[in-house]
Symmetry: C2
Subunit: 152 residues, 2 copies
Amino acid sequence: MNEVPGSVGTSAGFSLRLAQALFSSASLLFMSLGVEFYSYTAFCYLVTIMGLVIPWSFTLALVDGYSVLVKCPVRQPGILLIIAAGDWVLSVLTLAAACSTASVVDLLLHSGGPYCPPKCCSRYQLSAAMAFLTWFLSLASALLNLWVLPSL
Amino acid sequence: MNEVPGSVGTSAGFSLRLAQALFSSASLLFMSLGVEFYSYTAFCYLVTIMGLVIPWSFTLALVDGYSVLVKCPVRQPGILLIIAAGDWVLSVLTLAAACSTASVVDLLLHSGGPYCPPKCCSRYQLSAAMAFLTWFLSLASALLNLWVLPSL
């Protein structure tokens, strides 16, 4: 079979996973470092989801890196199915977290007042933007893995 | 080819579309009737998206009903591809709108005060719940149509 760039076990897939891990870590850091995120449900949800996405992406980046190095891509339909399903679920959850965070930040910005010091709010915005980027990359991974699945 | 229940031109597909149109109309009505939704970005976004979903679901319900009546299901790959792509885009947008609305309602409920009279807030909550149901049904349509596509 021909390889689809971006699926499990290719170098493009490795870069996709690495970028996902990077952006989700950035989102988590912007949200949690020195900011009182635990007073808003949406922000706690974002932190929880990013705590799931980071180990998932990092593990799969390791798998991809290993199979690129030994030149032996993963070809078991069962494993690919699990990876594709996990990607789908995580991308839906990431989208939900990113949208919730973005809408709460927007509300805080417009209501003004003591709820949102300018420095904190720009951090929240950056965190939401990183979460959207993570969603986009995770969706790309999920689509590419789903594309590979029927050809096995 | 065998028919997949729930795809375009089947009676299950017709009921799916009808339920989508029903729930999205309910979401729009709960949000917009007698409630000042235009002061929150997330609520305006929900109203916009529901204004897109309602005509889309209603048109496809008509198409499904017609093809069930004349017993001639739609089998052109081009048309099915457009319908599946539209379903995917609308289901992502609906999920985003539902999450934004739910998180803003949650924030308003917890902040209390004059922003959220109890009667309005329960309406907003119902609207968000209906939007989540619309998303779920729209995702089901999109998956079933995508499933049919390769067999044509």
